[in-house]
Structures are given as C-alpha cells and as structure tokens.
C-alpha cells in the first residue's frame, strides 16, 4: 500500500478506535444516569410528606453528584491512558510506513529513526495550557498559510484546541450540567404533577443500564439527560485522538528529516469538511512552520509526509497516486477546492452556504461567489477567500459587501486546457525501423507521448488565436506609427499618440497570455526530451567517438559547445546522421564528416564522397542564453539525419506532399505560416499551413546533366535531394519551449519528429 493510502486507511481505523473509547466512557455515564433516575421511583410511594420527598430528592441528587465525580476521574484517566497507548502505536505505524518507502536495496544506507514515546507524551499534549500552544491557525498566521494578505474578522483568536485541560474541564462541565439538569427537571416535574415514568422517559429516552449498543446508537436512544453528553464525549475523544495521532506522526517525521522535510495538510474530500480544512487541503508546509490538525473539534484532517525523492538515491514508485473522495478515487493532485469546484450546485451550496429557491428554480447563496471567484482566479484561491481569520466561513453578508452581486465578479478567462477525449494508446515499442509513411510515424509519436500531451491540446485554439490577435494589434499600431511619422500637425500627432496607449496595453496583455501558455507545456516537453535521450539505442561514448573522428575547421572558439550539442543530437536521434552511415546518393546530405565553424549562412553540403559538411556559427551567447545557436546546429544535423536513410527522405517528402493541394512551388512572400509568415523567404515553396512556409521548400533536381543525377533518376524527372521537413522539425527539438511551440502549431509534424527519437538505423 502506498504511503498516503496507508495513512488514509489509518485515519479510518482511528475513527473506529475513537468510537470504541468514547463508547466506554459514555456507557459508564449512562449507567449512572439510569441508576439515578430509577431512584426516583421511591418518590412515588404513597403517604410521603413533601419535606421527606424533598429530602429524598436531595439525597438522590447528592448520590448522583458523587457518582459522576467518580466518572469524571475515570473518564479523564481512561482517555489519557488510551491516548498514551495510541501515541506508541501511531509512532510505530509511521516508522513502518517510512521504512516501506525505502527500497530494500538501500535500507542499509538509509535508516528510519524511531522516537521514544515518553510516559507523559499524551498527557503533555492534552494537558498543556491552551494559551501556550497554537497549532490551530488563526489570524495573520492563517492568512499566511492560505496565501491571503488578510482575512476578514480577526476574531476568535482565543479558540483553543481540545487539550487535556479542556477535556478535563469538559468532563467536569458534563457532570455538573447533568446534575443540575436532573435536579431542575425533577423539581419542575414534581411541581407540574408530572409522573415519574414521564420524567424518566424525558430524561433517559430509551437508555438503559449495561447497554451493549455503540456510541451512535446510544446517542440516538438517549433522552434529555444522556444524548447531548454522549455526543460531547464522542467529539472530545475523537478530537483528542486526532491531536495525539498527528502529533506522534509529526514527531516521527521530524526525526527523519533526511527522508522528509515537508508535509502535506490533507483534509477529507466530502461535504462535511470545514472551510478552514478545505482551504488548507493539499498545501505543503515545512515542519514546525505550518498548521497542524485538528483545526477544530471533530477535525478529520491528517498530515502526509512529502518524501524528499530529489535528495534520496531512489525514485518514487511508478504507480499513479490516487486519493479517496466521497465520489470515489480521484487523482492525487485533486485538492479540496478543486473537488468542490467539480461538485454540483447542491453540494457546493451545502458546503459554502446556499439553498434552492423555488421561485427562480435554482440554487442561490454564498457558493455562487465561489464559482465566480474560481473562474476568475482558481478554485484554491477562491476557497481561501471564504475563510475568516478565526477559521470559520465568511458570511453571505460579508461576501456581498466585498463583491456586490456574484455576477459583478468579472470572469477573466485564463487559459485552461480543455482535455480532449482520446483513445488509449498502446505502449510504445523500444525502437522502430524507419518508415516511409508519415501516418505510421505520427502514430508512433502518439504512442511515445502516451496521451500525456492531451491536456495541452486545449491550449491550441487559444494559442493560435492569441498569436493572430497579437499580429493584428501590432499591425494596427504600425498603421498609427506610420501616420505619426508622416504628420506635421502637432495636435494630430498627439491625438494619434493617445490612441496607441490602449493598443500597447492590449499587446502586453496578449504577450503575457502567450507566455503563460508557453510555460504550461515546458514540463511535459522537458520530460519527453529526457526520455528520448535516456532511451537512445546508442551510447554517449559511441556518439563521442563518431564526433571525435569528425574534421573541425574554421574558428576554434565554440568547437567544444558544438561537440556537446552534436552529441546530444546523436543520442536523441539514435546516431542518425552522426554515427550511422547511409547509402551514398549524389547531392543528398549524409553522415557528417566535417564541421566548418564560421560566419556565413549555415548549411549542409554533400561533399561528393557520401559524407556531409555542415557549416555552423561559433557564437552561441546572445539574448536568450546558451541555446541560441543550438537550434541552427540541430537544423543542419537533421539534414544528415534525413539524408542518411532513404526512408526518412521518402517519409518527409510524403509528409510535405500529402498535405499540399498543389505540388507546384509558389512564392512564399505572401504565405501565412502557423507561427511565422513567409515574408523573409526568397525561394519558392510548396504551399500548406506548416509552422513556417519554409517547411514546404523543395530541393529538386530536374537538370538535363545526367552526371548530376543519382542512379535510377531519369532526365527531367523530379527528384528530391532533401526537404526542410525533418530539419525544421528537429530544430524545435533543441529545447522544450520550441518543442511545445511546434506541438501547438503542427502536432502531426511534432509527432513525426518524436517518432524519429525511437527510430534506429
């Protein structure tokens, strides 16, 4: 069982255990009450004078008071004894769980530290002055935990935990209140002529001595004298158990700081969870710096350690983590706010306040604010706004004064991926043979991604729209600037200047949105890249050996960087174009044998001996860090990757031609690419909506000189020496940001290149 699962299961067991302890305490209480009430029957004897009856009643009450005094001592001692035993069991349980996290092979090196549970552990926890412990988060501290600058109504800071004093006080109050209630009820009953059976019924309900029922059944049976105290006992015991269990667990976690440095506050995902626990759910804190359960009476929250896998010599288990909710299992990253946001109006209204309005035929109330705020920000931030400084829920009146009507809260649409439904993909093969069919390559790429990129698909529409809108705003600004440059009228110039301000604001907003989407894809692409390198069919040593044999000419500066980047390319694409030799074909790029580090246009040229020379720049540093020239290097190396396998060339040609309506090249100047237009190009291209029109650039030989044509190609026949399909695709694989951009602009192109990371030669 995974660690969180075991802890959740333990929480359920603790709940059952709490019921057992509280049943023991409550049963004794009920027995005393029943015996005291039964004594009332003596008052019914005929012929007794009022003074005798009064004296008899005083005697019964005194006896009850004495019995309940004994019960108070028993209850306090019994609960502390049970809690002490629980602390030991819990500490042992947590130690076992931490032990299970560590794989057998490394247990010798990493040991789980146990903790000594002192004889007074439980008593200390439940007996400390409540004003001196503040595990309950309130006021500014709570605001800090929730990421809010302030929380409304900083009241209730004196709300304290149900510690030993309170438990003891509570037992005292239960006993004293019961005696008083008993006395008053009997006195009033006698004064109003109520019979003893009537009073007994009112006081005890169906409670009986030596009852074998559990705590819940006892509570339901009880009358005025027994039912409320039974519920109070249950609450006190459950809350104390939660407090001791979590304190024991945290003590063990802190003793193992090399395994865990942080913990996750974990609430129960159902409609009975309080606002404060719901808002804290899923948040991660350093030990001793965050809130601890219980945050309130009857709190069911717990703490789960965050295992420090980054600094441990083993990886997390591969199983997908899930967490239990009232609706069944959900992804482990579902926090309470997200869960609540997915619930129907009825549940949201139940949790956050609201009711069904029969006139309007819809649910109304505080929860509407949550829905609007969650749409504007995110569910977690929205839920935090529902918590007051004392941990209670913000009222509808406060929400109204803060936001007006719910509809007044603007829903600023931030990019949220709409997850498309996809058929499950089969597991990718470790390696593939080259294919000439783009469709097969695309399908392989999808298998490699294994549905992981589906969540990014929802951004595509927004991404393209934002880029288009950005271009439109820029063009509009250009028009205004042109007029400003031409005008000689100062007033007109000023007027034009004023019109550009809102456009500049809009342009900056669009850029922020584009950047936000770019960031979404980074992690997934980073992982795909890492996997491609890890799954390579060649070793780094093989790549280094092949690169070591290459002839480097030109600038010395930058050669080391180029070697490293070529090695990365070789490992990523299984040696294609770097380690592996392809069939010699005239004019076609092949395995790289020479690297010219020089200024001038980067290119890849067949040397006539079946190998290629690539010319690449030596400068890498620039505006965007070290990767500036890497894309260019990947581009040129990818020409060799394509050319060394005839199947790769055939696949690239088919990919380009299958998508184009016409194979007649056209001028690129007016063509629109998905990311970039063709304004900068000079050579004719085959037209389609590629990431850039340059992807459609053909390299065709139709010459009449037979000596320039490869074997098998007739004069006048169209022959593709190369394409820009693989080179343009592979250059985007030089870093995760560019990979994501290609994925957004042209997913088929992306998947085809991804398939090449598993294609071996």
């Amino acid at each position: 069982m995974a660690l969180p699962d075991a802890i959740f299961r333990n929480a359920i067991d603790l709940n059952r255990y709490g019921n057992k302890v509280s049943t023991d305490v409550a049963r004794r209480f009920v027995d005393i009450c029943v015996r005291s009430v039964q004594e009332l029957s003596v008052l019914d004897r005929k012929g007794l004078g009022d003074s005798y009856r009064a004296a008899r009643l005083r005697s019964i009450v005194a006896q009850m008071e004495k019995s309940l005094g004994g019960w108070k001592k028993y209850a306090n001692k019994h609960v502390i004894k049970e809690l002490q035993g629980l602390a030991k069991v819990e500490a042992g349980f947590i130690e076992d769980q931490l032990q299970k996290v560590i794989p057998r092979g490394v247990r010798k090196n990493i040991q789980v530290n146990g903790v000594e549970i002192s004889p007074k552990f439980a008593e200390n926890i439940v007996s400390v002055d409540p004003t001196k412990i503040r595990s309950r988060a309130v006021g500014r501290q709570l605001a800090g935990f929730l990421g809010e600058t302030s929380l409304s109504d900083a009241i209730g800071a004196n709300m304290t935990l149900p510690n030993g004093n309170i438990v003891q006080d509570a037992f005292d109050k239960i006993a004293d209140g019961s005696v008083q209630l008993f006395r008053n009820t009997v006195r009033d009953g006698l004064a109003t002529g109520e019979t003893t059976p009537q009073m007994t019924r009112r006081l005890l309900g169906n409670s009986k001595e030596n009852d074998t029922a559990n705590i819940l059944q006892m509570s339901q049976k009880g009358g005025l004298l027994t039912s409320p105290p039974i519920n109070q006992v249950r609450t006190l015991v459950r809350t104390s158990i939660n407090q001791v269990a979590n304190s024991a667990a945290l003590t063990v976690y802190q003793a193992n700081s090399d395994i865990t440095k942080k913990y996750r506050y974990t609430a129960t995902l159902d409609s009975r969870t309080t606002a404060v626990c719901g808002a804290l759910d899923g948040r991660i804190f350093d030990y001793e710096k965050g809130p601890k359960p219980p945050q309130h009476f009857n709190c069911r929250s717990t703490v789960v350690p965050e295992i420090d896998y980054e600094n441990l010599p083993f990886d997390p288990p591969p199983t997908a983590r899930k967490r239990a909710t009232a609706d069944g299992q959900m992804s482990a990253d579902t926090d309470y706010a997200k869960w609540l946001y997915m619930q129907p109006n009825k549940i949201q209204a139940q949790v956050l306040g609201g009711k069904f309005n029969k006139e309007t035929n819809k649910f109304e109330g505080s929860f509407r604010y949550f829905q609007r705020l969650a749409s504007r920000d995110d569910p977690r931030t929205a839920l935090a706004k529902f918590v007051r400084a004392d941990g209670s829920r913000v009222t509808l009146a406060q929400l109204k004064s803060r936001y007006g009507k719910p509809d007044n809260i603007p829903i600023v649409r931030i990019p949220v991926a709409e997850v498309a439904k996809v058929a499950p993909r089969k597991a990718p093969a470790l390696t593939y043979a080259p294919t000439v069919q783009p469709k097969i390559a695309v399908s392989r790429g999808k298998d490699i991604a294994g549905g992981r990129l589906t969540k990014l698909d929802g951004y595509r529409k927004d991404y393209k729209k934002l880029l288009r809108q950005h271009t439109e705003v820029r063009e509009e600004l250009n028009g205004i600037h042109g007029k400003m440059n031409r005008t000689k009228d100062m007033a007109k110039w000023r007027a034009l200047n004023e019109t550009r301000d809102p456009l500049i604001l809009r342009k900056n907003k669009l850029r922020a949105d584009i950047d936000r989407i770019d960031k979404q894809g980074f992690q997934e692409m980073f992982e795909l890249r890492k996997e491609a390198i890890a799954a390579s069919s060649i070793t780094r040593a093989e790549a280094r050996e092949a690169i070591g044999k290459m002839k480097f000419v030109g600038f010395r500066e930058g050669r080391e960087r180029i070697r490293e980047e070529l090695e990365e390319f070789a490992v990523m694409f299984n040696g294609g174009g770097i380690v592996k030799n392809g069939r010699k074909i005239k004019g076609r790029p092949n395995k790289i044998s020479t690297v010219r580090v020089a200024n001038g246009r980067a290119h890849n040229a067949n040397q006539g001996d079946g190998t290629s020379l690539i010319k690449v720049p030596n400068k890498s540093g620039g505006y965007f860090g070290e990767d500036d020239a890497k894309a260019t290097l990947f581009h040129e190396a990818a020409h060799s990757l394509e050319g060394q396998s005839e199947k790769n060339v055939a696949m690239a040609v088919a990919f380009r031609n299958n998508r184009a309506k016409s194979l007649t090249p056209v001028s690129p100047k007016g063509l629109k690419g998905t990311i970039s237009d063709g304004y900068y190009l000079r050579e004719a291209v085959i037209r389609d909506s590629f990431i850039s029109p340059y992807v459609g650039r053909p390299y065709r030989t139709t010459g009449r000189d037979i000596s320039k044509l490869p074997k098998g190609v007739k004069v006048g026949e169209i022959y593709d020496e190369a394409t820009e399909v693989i080179s343009m695709g592979a250059e985007h694989f030089s870093n995760p940001e560019n990979m994501f951009r290609l994925y957004q602009a042209d997913p088929e192109h992306f998947f085809m290149i991804l398939s090449l990371t598993r294609t071996t030669y």
Binding site: L496, H603, Y623, I675, R682
Partner: protein
C-alpha cells in the same frame, strides 16, 4: 562593415547595430521597441528556416525582420546598405549549391 537600422515608431525610436554580418544585435533607444523585437524573435525564422537568433544574425535577415514588424516606411537603413545586398547575393549562391 557596420550595419545600422533606425526604427521609428511614433514617439519611440530605436537603433539596431550589427558590427558585421552576421553578428549580435545591439539595440539602443526605446525599451518598448526592444521588448517588441525580443518577443517577436521567438516566433521568427531567418531566410533559411533557422529559428531567429539575435545573438548571430545577418544584416539581410535583420532588415527583413524589422520591415515585417514595423513596415518599410518605419525602417531606415542608416549604414550598411551594401552589406544587406551582399548577404542576399551570398544566399542566392548558397541556395543553388547546398541544403540550408
């Protein structure tokens, strides 16, 4: 040969300088235009399909890039007209003999 381009955008002006072609771009003047150029370069390619690299760019590519961004009337070549023409000639030769 130094190449200098002047971009005029209403009240904002910027000068882009290349010490040679190719080399890195030095942008002086309006911060607004500088941020424009940096952002747009992430979505641009040069004449031979390479992702735009302001750390090593040809005069011809820079000029075309600026003209596309701001319009021909807002971009002035202060120095290096010849170099831009030379870049174009080099590209024409290369395109006949190599795979770019």
């Amino acid at each position: 040969m130094v190449i200098k381009l002047l971009v005029k955008e209403g009240s904002e002006n910027a000068t882009l300088t290349l010490q040679s072609s190719p080399s890195f771009v030095v942008i002086s003047g309006s911060e607004e235009l500088k941020s424009d150029i940096e952002f747009e370069s992430k979505f641009a390619y040069d004449s031979v399909g390479h992702i735009m690299n302001l750390g090593s760019i040809f005069a011809q590519d820079l000029y075309i890039f600026m003209v596309d961004l701001y319009g021909k009337e807002n971009v002035e070549i202060l120095e290096g007209k010849e170099q831009i023409k030379d870049d174009d000639k080099e590209l024409a030769i290369l395109e006949k003999n190599g795979v770019t």
